[in-house]
């Protein structure tokens, strides 16, 4: 009654099955690369504008905030967590920076704004690691709280910065490439190095892959989990001040889309939602794929309603492949 019987698998077909499983695993590994390449070629052929330096840099600039957050979201998800509050942290950081700039100056304002994100990430970490609340619920609840705080801070108004220096970060460029893209590159490299070369990176893989084994190996599981949420808050803060700088405005009700886009990008990239496996470049590719889809719909004048259907479908396919590949290797 309590035990599931062992199924006897027929011998024939075992080989065909294992071939299919290998193929499945390859799809999960390299599906994101193939998708990006195929879409890139298709758009290049279909549109004259797509394959121009201006358009490509525009895509990168547009995706920079989402890309920055996705890099850190990857760390959280590999560590076995989940952060639904990145949009709210993004909003608070922008609001904080725009409100602080008149008092403490442009660059200190931007830095403190980003650090506010870090602080909010630590709050999430306390909910998850110390109180032991499920990350999904904890960050859902904290995102309500953070949005509420942001509204209290602005009183419901737009916060406009008159200092022209404030818009430099969001609009200035270096050797023809916008700062936002440089910032994305820097965050991408930092997250990659952290994950692949640092002790912390090893511990993140360990707690996400097998928290009990990590604990019995002497890893401070809670501390590692805390740092992933803190870094995610910092990244959301950086993205928030970047976006605020673009338009020289802070708003309490922005950023909601980043929560879902970043999680979608991580998953589409092939990082497992169950933790313990994945890579930062995959998530950046995921964001790039989603950004390309949006760009393609614009360039080809397609009805944007279908864009959402396509993006949703891609997410389902990515998760289904992950689930099947996991089942196969167990």
């Amino acid at each position: 009654m309590s035990v599931v019987g062992e199924l006897e698998k027929p011998r024939t077909g075992v080989r065909a099955r294992s071939e299919a499983l290998k193929a499945l695993r390859r799809v999960r590994e390299y599906g994101i690369v193939a998708s990006v390449v195929v879409l890139f070629i298709v758009l290049s052929l279909q549109s004259n504008v797509f394959l121009t330096q201006g358009n490509l840099l525009n895509i990168l600039d547009q995706m920079a905030p989402a890309g920055i957050i996705a890099c850190a979201q990857t760390l959280v998800i590999i560590g076995g967590g989940f952060d639904l509050s990145v949009g709210a942290m993004f909003a608070i950081a922008g609001v904080a920076a725009t409100q602080l700039v008149p008092h403490i100056g442009v660059w200190p304002g931007l830095v403190v704004g980003a650090l506010v994100g870090l602080g909010l990430g630590v709050v999430n970490a306390i909910f998850v690691a110390v109180l032991g609340i499920n990350p999904f619920i904890a960050t859902l609840a904290s995102s309500f709280m953070f949005y509420g705080v942001a509204s209290v801070m602005t009183g419901g108004y737009l916060v406009t910065v008159s200092d022209p220096g404030f818009s430099t970060l969001g609009n200035g460029s270096f050797i023809g490439v916008k700062y936002s893209i440089w910032l994305l590159l820097a965050v991408f490299l930092a997250a990659t190095v952290t994950l692949r070369a640092s002790k912390l990176g090893r511990y993140i893989f360990a707690i996400g892959g097998n928290a009990e084994a990590a604990r019995l190996s002497g890893v401070r599981v809670n501390l590692v989990r805390t740092s992933t949420f803190a870094l995610c808050g910092l990244a959301a803060g950086v993205a928030g001040v970047l976006a605020a700088s673009r338009i020289s405005q802070g708003q309490a009700n922005v950023g909601n889309e980043y929560t879902l886009i970043t999680i979608a990008a991580v998953v589409i990239g092939g990082t497992s939602i169950l933790g313990g496996e994945g890579a930062v470049w995959r998530s950046v590719m995921g964001v790039f794929l989603l950004a390309m889809i949006g760009n393609g719909f614009n360039l080809l004048n397609l009805n944007p309603i279908y864009q959402q259907i396509v993006q949703g479908g891609i997410i389902i396919i990515a998760v289904a492949i992950d689930t099947l590949a996991r089942r196969a290797s167990n």
Partner: protein, 527 residues
């Protein structure tokens, strides 16, 4: 003595007329490299209690699971009411009115008693529940069993003993005529044992057959009509229970072990300094007042039946579980271990019981697994010193003879033996002062087992103190210098040198013999 006198049950067959409810002929079952059942012939009389006994891993639970369709046999025949059957799922066995009550109860905690009893067999064919009919049948069952359970309380609010009653009613609601109970008293407070036995006898009076799997020998003899003893997957004794004593059952279980009683020559290591010393370790419900010393270079075995508290004690020493009371002293310094991290830093290493769930990151590389506890040492600032890591891991992998195509390959592709070697490598890299090895050879083949034993011996020879926990009596009888036997959360016996024999360990673990029972250390034996 010759076991053949009692083997085969010829005498039982002579009773007429033979009304076999279930009969097995030459059942075989393998798990990986281990043979769980070897040509098992068992005959179970209708309407009786038939006990299956044996030491850890003797095959008694496997036999129960095969009869209940929870595990498929690799060979042999299973006959129910004289007809050969082949169950592929528990559901098919249930159709033949056979069911298993597992050691871990399988109720839905948030449903009520009556909902659990009829789960999946709700009366009525329309898809709608028929509460009145259900209640009527529940009352009927309640009267028949005399349990008097409240139908509408949630199962998770009941005591374990009452939950067990729900399981029994559930079996009866499915019209089961043969119920297999796997260690039903293991989780039950002593006061409830007698009540359970009354229930079982009553079931038998109603014509139900009960197969009772247990390692509590006195209970078994008081309750069962017939008893079958298994040893290493073989039937070594089949007899009416009335003709047996706890002594005779243990003798049967030890079986051929008696013939190779020549114990290995053991060098005494008492002269070496004490490395680890624990005093008065207790945790409510798990173990009580456990004290012992381990010397440098000594392998101390911790033997006992499943559930006797062996693993619980060592896990608590390592900081993996809570400790209510007691002190842990390493090299003369009393430690305060708040978690595994403290233990690792102090020089402890533990190979946990389940390498898959507690030991390894199955999807990560061998190298990452091996270096995980030592990254603080092999790093520069926040970064892992990958060159040093590669060298250190390669060195220790060679030392443990880890065979893998590449050290960057994920551990999940390795054989069980090589996975265990990877775990060994993981801890050897840190040169531990104390190694705790919990079931280090479970599920590995004979060759790997030998290799792991050599590794343990070599580590001890190097001066480490080793605690070996194993459910295999043969293993604890062979490798360690000294062995402690646990029973019901306490240390009940100590053997060393020439005195360590498999049969003595088994007797002590089953409580069949009072010899050598020691109140070691401080002797503060509370009730």
């Amino acid at each position: 003595m010759s076991l053949n006198d009692q083997h085969g049950g010829d005498r039982v067959e002579a009773l007429s007329p033979p009304d076999w409810h279930v009969e097995t002929r030459g059942l075989e079952k393998r798990y990986g490299g281990a043979q769980a059942l070897v040509g098992v012939d068992v005959r179970i009389r209708r309407g009786t209690v038939h006990a299956l006994v044996g030491e850890n891993g003797a095959g008694k639970s496997t036999l129960g699971r095969v009869i209940a369709g929870a595990t498929a046999a690799d060979g042999g025949e299973l006959l129910v009411d004289g007809v050969a059957v082949h169950f592929r799922t528990p559901r098919e066995a249930l159709r033949a009115r056979i069911t298993l009550i597992a050691q871990e109860l399988a109720l839905v905690p948030r449903l009520t008693v009556v909902e659990n009893v009829f789960l999946g067999v709700e009366p009525g064919a329309t898809g709608f529940l028929r509460p009145a009919e259900q209640r009527r049948r529940f009352t009927e069952l309640n009267e028949r069993t005399g349990f008097g359970l409240e139908p509408n309380v949630r199962v998770d609010s009941l005591r374990v003993a009452d939950q067990q009653k729900v399981e029994i009613m559930r079996a009866l609601a499915r019209d089961a005529r043969l119920i297999i109970m796997d260690e039903p008293t293991a989780a039950l407070p002593a006061a409830d044992h007698q009540r359970l036995f009354e229930i079982i006898r009553q079931l038998c009076n109603d014509g139900v057959t009960v197969v009772y799997v247990s390692h509590f020998l006195k209970e078994v003899l008081a309750l069962a009509d017939d008893v079958t003893v298994l040893k290493d997957g073989h039937v070594v004794l089949a007899s009416p229970a009335s003709e047996q004593t706890p002594e005779s059952l243990v003798t049967a279980m030890i079986g051929h072990a008696l013939e190779r009683e020549t114990s290995t020559t053991r060098t005494k290591v008492d002269s070496a300094p004490v490395t680890l010393s624990v005093r008065g370790l207790s945790r409510a419900g798990a173990f009580e007042d456990v004290s012992f010393d381990v010397h440098a270079g000594e392998i101390l075995g911790l033997a006992g039946l499943v559930g006797s508290g062996r693993s619980e004690v060592v896990r608590a020493i390592f900081g993996a579980d809570r400790l209510d009371e007691g002190t842990v002293t390493l090299d003369g310094r009393t430690l305060r271990i708040r978690g595994p991290r403290d233990a690792v830093r102090a020089g402890f290493a533990m190979l946990p019981e389940s390498r898959k769930d507690q030991g390894l990151l199955m999807r990560r590389s061998i190298r990452e697994n091996v270096s995980l506890p030592h990254l603080a040492r092999i790093s520069r600032g926040p970064f892992v010193d990958q060159r040093q890591e590669r060298r250190a891991v390669a060195e220790v992998a060679t030392k443990v003879d880890l065979r893998a195509s590449s050290l960057t390959a994920p551990v999940q592709g390795l054989s069980g033996g090589n996975q265990q070697k990877a775990l060994f490598a993981k801890w050897l890299l840190g040169r531990p002062k104390v190694l705790i090895a919990d079931e280090p050879t479970r599920g590995v083949d004979v060759g790997a087992k030998e290799a792991i034993h050599e590794l343990i011996a070599a580590l001890a020879a190097d001066g480490a103190a080793v605690i070996l926990v194993s459910s295999e009596f043969e293993e604890v009888a062979r490798l360690p210098h000294r062995v402690l036997v646990m029973r019901a959360g306490r240390i009940v016996a100590e053997f060393d040198g020439e005195d360590v024999t498999e049969s003595r360990l088994i007797r002590a673990a089953f409580g069949a013999s009072e010899e050598n029972v020691v109140g070691i250390a401080n002797g503060e034996v509370s009730s």
